[in-house]
Every structure is written in C-alpha cells, then in structure tokens.
C-alpha cells in the first residue's frame, strides 16, 4: 500500500465529502461507490449523500467544463462515477423519500443517435430531484407525444447533435401546437449546434447550453409554472 493512499473510512464526514468531490472530478468510480456506502453507513440520508457529495461534486465538474478547464472525456468519466453512486442511492431514495422538483420526459430527436449530452442532462436532473423518463435516441414526434400523454411531465427535453436533425425539434413543437398541447409543457432544447436564437425561433421555452444550465432553467420554469397555477 502506498504511504499516501487515502483511507476513505478514516476521514471525517466533511473530509470525506471533499474527498468525494475530488474523486468525482477524477472519475474514480469505485471510490465514489465506497464513499456513498460509508456515508450511508454513518446514517446520512440518501438525499444528503446525493446532493452534498455527488451533485455538489458534479457541479464543480460542470463549472470547469463550462470554463474550458475540463473536456468531454473527463466529464464522461466523472459522470460514470456519479452514475455508479446514484445506482446505489436510487432505491434508497425511493424508500426514504426526497423532495420532488417535477417530472421530465427527455429524448434525442428522430434521425439522431447522439446521447452523451442528453444522458448527462438526465442524470443531473435526477440528481436535482426531478423524475426523468428517458426516451433514448431517434425519437419520432409520435413517440414524444405518446410519452407526454402517458407521463404528464412538467418538462419536455429534446436533444440533437446534428445540424440536419435539429430542425426536427420544430416539427415536435409545431405538432404540440396543432394539438393544443404546447402550453401544457415546458419545452427545453439543447445540443452542440443549437443556440438561443434557434431555441426562440422554433418556439421552445429555453435553450440550455449544458447540463448545469438545464437544471437551473428547469427549476426556474417549474417554479414559475407552479406560481402561475397558484395565482
């Protein structure tokens, strides 16, 4: 054993959480699993482990990605580590309950198989307390509408990586308008070639540059929707 090896179980709670932020940053999956199990073993609620250790750590990763300090490969490794921690926490969160922020249906549009950004958004939305139904890739307008009908989410999220597939988002939104459904949902869009102007032009509520922005935008829109309903 190396002299400088850190024994997670020997750390105090505060030290362990900070160490987990570092481990998440470095994409260390097994260390994150160990950290989650240690905190749960010490009586932490699953919700606190999720928010204070995982989401807070992933927020640092997201900020450094936004600022050009980290790049996609590193973010993917961090996301994988967080995913493994969430895998442990998910059933515990169901048992113990956690604040629910709202519900989201998300998917990559028809003709597009790219799902890295979409998966990251789905994971961070779950981490922020949203229930997420992930439709996967290559979704037709019918599939989106069926999911909206069945799930009655607060938010529809659509993702596209290609210039050639991003116009399909407008097809979905226009169909929602035709059916009188558009105002029932918050529509968020994202993907590398998109921008705010495109989001406005197709009639989305907001364009989200990255997963962190998606979470903050979703929270703000859901709060606004709830305020409108209670007014």
């Amino acid at each position: 054993m190396a002299d400088d090896e850190i024994i997670l179980a020997d750390l105090s709670d505060d030290e362990l959480v900070l160490q987990m932020h570092d481990d998440l940053y470095d994409g260390l999956k097994e260390e994150i699993e160990d950290g989650v199990n240690i905190l749960i073993g010490r009586g932490w609620t699953p919700y606190d482990v999720l928010t204070k250790a995982l989401v807070a750590g992933m927020t640092i990763v997201g900020n450094d990605f936004r600022d050009g300090i980290l790049f996609v490969p590193e973010v993917l490794l961090s996301a994988n580590a967080m995913k493994s921690g969430m895998f442990i926490l998910k059933p515990l969160l169901v048992e113990t309950g956690a604040p629910r922020m709202g519900k989201m249906v998300i998917g990559t549009v028809k003709g597009d198989i790219h799902d890295i950004g979409k998966n990251l958004v789905a994971m961070m939305m779950e981490g922020a307390g949203f229930e997420v139904l992930d439709l996967g890739i290559n979704n037709s307008v019918e599939k989106y509408l069926d999911a909206l009908e069945a799930e009655k989410p607060d938010i529809l999220g659509m993702s596209a990586l290609l210039t050639t597939t991003m116009p399909y988002m407008k097809v979905v939104i226009d169909t929602m308008k035709e059916k009188g459904l558009r105002d029932d949902y918050i529509v968020l869009v994202g993907g590398a070639p998109l921008n705010e102007e495109f989001g406005r032009a197709i009639g989305a509520d907001a364009y989200c540059r990255d997963a962190a922005v998606a979470v903050e935008t979703a929270k703000a829109w859901v709060a606004r929707k709830h305020n409108q309903l209670s007014a």
């Binding site: 790049f71 996609v72 490969p73 590193e74 993917l76 490794l77 994988n80 003709g111 597009d112 198989i113 790219h114 799902d115 890295i116 890739i137 290559n138 290609l162 210039t163 050639t164 597939t165 991003m166 590398a192 070639p193 998109l194 921008n195 495109f198």
Partner: protein, 224 residues
C-alpha cells in the same frame, strides 16, 4: 505551377497561409477549411484554375465549431480590400446556421450543405440516405489520415479506451468516403473502423458538390 499543401498536421493546427500573386485584380480568394486543402488544390490543378487563390484556416476549428464564424470573419476582413471576390469553402459544419448568417452579413457566398460528408457525397444523395444511414460514422481522406488527431485523442480514447462504447455504441458502421483511390487509406480506414468496433464500408465519392461549387465560382470569374 502546382502548389503542394503542407503536411496534414500543419493543416490541422495552423492551416495554409495565402500564397497568391502580388497582383490580385480579377482573382478570387477561397477561404477554406484546412481539411479541404488537398482536394481544392487538386481541383485547381486539374481544372487550371490559376485565378483562384487559397487560404486555409486550421482544420481543428471543427473541434470548436462555434469559433468558425469569427475565424472566417477575421480572414475575410484581412483580405477583403485585395480581392474582388471571396468564397468560403465551408459548409455549415456544426455552426447551427451561424456561419451562413455570418457569410450573409459579410456579403460572401459559401458551400451549400450541412458538412463535408454531405457535399462530398452530393447534398441531395446524402439527404436521401439520411433515414437509412444515420447510424453511420463518416471519414474523408483527410480524416482517415488525421484520425488520431481528430477522433482518437480529442475524445480521450488514447487515455481512456473504456469510453469508446459511450461515444460509438449507437453507431453501426464507419463509412469511408474516399475522395481518391488510395489502397493505403482504405486499409487505414478499415483499421479505424476496427478500433471503433464498427462495420466498415468504403464509398468512392470523388469531390462531389465541392467540385460543382468551385466550378461555378471559377466560371463566374474566368481566368484572364
């Protein structure tokens, strides 16, 4: 006189500096992606388009497509006074319409289409295949030669090969769109497909709509 492009690594990171004649009257400047340098120079030579000058921007701008419009604007501004006509040899290239908007603002034309995979195949033919081929990953001659610089290393697969299936798990095949007949490139492309765990297909495209677009540009201002 034929102009030899610099090596691909230079085209990737630096581009190709303008080496036109001292007099630029009646000449056309092509501002192009470095990934197209070989093809444009080949077309120039084949067609004797001696009145077309070429400057290439670094091909690796494609790793940050949002930087392409500003780079094109800067290049146009640098040469506008010297040339009667400037043509931008980029397609949309992941800029989400921003390059088209920038070109319109600058009053210059650009190549039609979403990206080079489309215009090499022919935009109409590529669009017709879209429904059946959206699980294909495309490489051109340049990208086969620069596979490690454009795909393998930027995606971190040299350091973290375990990420391969996260990136490519939804793809089914690698299509090598060959601009030239080069058995060595064919073999290298097949090896790229194997490294990505994808089926392999070679498809000869030649220069496709790139040739069409440049022919129109060249003809509009015929050589003196």
């Amino acid at each position: 006189m034929a102009l030899t492009p610099p090596d691909d690594a230079t085209l990737t990171t630096t581009g190709l500096p303008l080496s036109g004649p001292s007099s630029t009257a009646d000449r056309v400047l092509l501002i192009a992606c470095g990934a197209l340098a070989h093809e444009i120079l080949a077309l120039k030579q084949q067609n004797h388009w001696s009145h077309l000058d070429l400057q290439c921007l670094p091909a690796n701008l494609h790793l940050w497509p949002d930087r392409i419009p500003a780079a094109v604007e800067q290049a146009v501004a640098a040469h506008r006074a010297a040339y009667d006509q400037i043509f931008i040899v980029y397609a949309d290239c992941g800029t989400g319409g921003l390059l088209q908007a920038k070109c319109a603002e600058l009053g210059v034309q650009m190549v039609e289409g979403p990206h080079c995979y489309s215009f090499f195949e022919g935009n109409a033919a590529f669009a017709a295949k879209a429904e059946d081929e959206f699980t294909a990953f495309y490489l051109t001659d340049f990208l086969v030669r620069q596979f490690d610089a454009f795909v393998w290393r930027p995606m971190g697969l040299d350091r973290h090969p375990e990420l391969r299936d996260i990136y490519f798990g939804n793809y089914t095949k690698l299509v090598y769109q060959a601009q030239t007949n080069d058995p060595a490139l064919d073999a290298k492309a097949a090896n790229c497909a194997a490294r990505l765990n994808l089926a392999y297909e070679r498809r000869f495209t030649g220069y496709g709509d790139l040739a069409t677009a440049l022919t129109q540009v060249a003809a509009a201002r015929a050589a003196p």
